[in-house]
């Protein structure tokens, strides 16, 4: 390589700066144009415009809150009334996270190169995971409601399937970072695949798995509440029925909303504390005995 003079470096650098500046400007313009035209399109396709609607933003919450405040004394009764629904929602999330986590765990081991017992299955199974992740829960739930009828089971299956996809991928990323040495050690003693995975991989990755599963549980609680909206049971279903009744049942809607919101916040906080502890050490004692 020929020696560059300072002047060369200067002009090269200036050229580079200029082209970068042009690139950035184009990027910025494209982004701004996309945002602006996107907003304009959405605004145009909407029944009410953004600016007209802004002053009315608080009308609906106002209605709900004023009715709830008016009949505040009834709220505790509603809490009790809807507790079973809440438990159902949490159970849907819990069962589907567990189920999805267990299947996702197995899937993740099957799709991690280096761990998979049959390498030719890795590609196809990964596509399966991609598809499972891509399908919104609501799609599966609606179809299953058609076959199985309403209730918690379609929601559970729908969320579990999505969870398999999501956790399967995250777990396999964790697996990729697991050290292969212990696994080779176990292989050298003649351990089978299941033994290698269970004794060699799982102890290494368990804290990360748990952390991801907890995060998924948080997400799944929301998902299960949402699926209630389409008839899959749980508290979402009650919320939808009272909300859409409108005035006259807003107090119940408010109570249900509070119940759900508090649950989400509590689960969020607890799980993020737990996750922090899991990923930032202090995970003393064997997670996996």
């Amino acid at each position: 390589m020929a020696e560059l003079t300072t002047a060369d470096i200067q002009s090269n650098y200036l050229a580079q700066v200029r082209s970068k500046r042009i690139m950035n400007t184009i990027l910025l313009i494209v982004f701004v144009a996309l945002m602006a035209s996107g907003f304009a399109t959405a605004n145009d396709r909407n029944a009410g415009g953004f600016w007209n609607g802004l002053p009315m933003l608080l009308d609906f919450p106002g209605d709900v809150i004023s009715e709830a405040v008016e009949r505040a004394h009834l709220l505790p009764g509603y809490f009790v009334k809807y507790l079973p629904s809440l438990i159902e929602t949490v159970n849907i999330a819990g069962a589907s996270t567990l189920l999805g986590g267990i299947v996702g765990l197995v899937m993740s081991l099957l799709v991690t190169r280096g761990l998979a017992p049959s390498p030719w299955l890795v590609g196809p199974l990964r596509r399966v995971l991609d598809v499972l992740r891509a399908v919104p829960e609501i799609v599966i739930a609606l179809v299953l409601i058609f076959i199985l009828g309403g209730g918690p089971v379609p929601a559970m299956i729908a969320i579990a399937l999505h969870t398999v996809g999501a956790l399967g991928k995250l777990f396999s990323e964790v697996n990729e970072n697991a050290s292969l040495k212990p696994i080779e050690g176990l292989e050298s003693v003649g351990a089978g695949w299941v033994q290698r995975m269970w004794l060699g991989v799982i102890p290494q990755v368990a804290p990360n798995y748990l952390s991801y599963a907890l995060l998924r549980f948080e997400i799944n609680i929301r998902a299960s509440a949402i699926l209630g909206f389409v008839g899959a049971g749980g508290i979402g279903y009650d919320l939808r029925n009272t909300m859409s009744w409108g005035q006259g049942k807003f107090d119940e809607a408010a109570a249900i909303f509070l119940l759900l919101f508090l649950t989400i916040v509590v689960v969020d906080q607890t799980s993020s504390n737990l996750r922090n502890r899991l990923t930032h050490g202090s995970a003393k004692g064997e997670i996996h005995a």
Partner: protein, 433 residues
Amino acid sequence: MTVMPLQIRTAGHFQRKRMMSFAVPAVILCYFAYIFVAFDIGGLAERANLQNARTLVSDAYSYKTHVTRDNRDGSIDVSIEGERKGRYLDGNSPAWVTMGNETVVDLGNHHIVTFRETQVTYDIPGYGLIVTEPGRSGVNAEFPTNELPDWINASKNRVTISTDAGRLTVTRNRSEVFRYFLGWELFFFTLDSPYHGMALGTLLRHAVHGEAGAIWSEFWANKMWRHGDVAWALFETILMAFLGTFGAAMVALPLGFLAAKNFSPLGSLRFAARRGFDFLRGVDGLIWTIILSRAFGPGPLTGSLAILLTDTGSFGKMFSEALENVDGKQIEGITSTGAKPLQRYRFGVIPQITPVLLSQILYYLESNTRSATIIGAITGGGIGLMLTQAINTQKDWEEVTYYIVLIILMVMLMDTFSGWLRRKLIKGDEGGH
């Protein structure tokens, strides 16, 4: 030192480990048992309607053509999926329907249904001839056997015969035959289109001869499958995700500074911002949609704003965490040159957090495509609404399948796109634009 005590201690230790390793699966099993009871999964087996499942699956890859006779005026109507849009125009009919005084419907495999003046007959190979006579007094039917097989459902006023070849329903007013075919009929062109039934080669020839635009618009405006509308709906869904995600990012960035320990001037302000984020996140996007629909009405803007609100909560939290983790050395380096506060943020902070923020935003773009589908299903619009409606009206499962496939492709596409963008931007980025 003898190892005896150690051996005994270790054996005891293993006893405890054994208990532990059984305890975890046992707890999980107990929970599943509880769920089994609480969700009445046992009763599900009998409630599950396999007939529906079969209908769904077979309808997903096949279509049915209805041949309907109005028993009062004798008029006959042949239409695909029994829809007006799929109706064979007067005088036209598929080859297996022979119109005339006696209309003969050949269901294949020697299954023949004949509409006569006053009678409707169905000749079933291996079973015999069924003769029905719809009239004022009901549907009088004669069957070759006394004992009716379970694929015949007959009452005084209605007879339904379902075979592998098709299905015949006779009531006092109407006689109707369904014949099932594989495939998604009329997917490209409806019956009234000049291009219907054209072979690909012919079509291409037409296209080359300047009809490409016409062919495209015939396809795009297909009344049965409405590809144009579906494309709009997909676009609307992606639009909601796009506006919501990037809008939220723009709102959350300044708020993130407010909530970050090392940038927020006031403790109370920080606390308020954090609780605000928790609230925005805690109330799900779906509920935001309902709340917003009073002010903004139905439409994609409402969906976008709902996503924007929820994600402002998520991004605010993540951004403030990213800001709390910034390296003070760079900021100090910039400060020591006498840089103004804005310059300090621009060069000390922004270059550090852009990769983190960008990757999080782009990750959300994909997941919001799914959220937008759901939000659309409940109020907004877009492909989610089309899907729910198609499922709720419970016909045309091929349409449902079409939508599901499109949704999956859309989400996977957004996933690929955001992944690509993430790699591209974070690698080549020189500190944001």
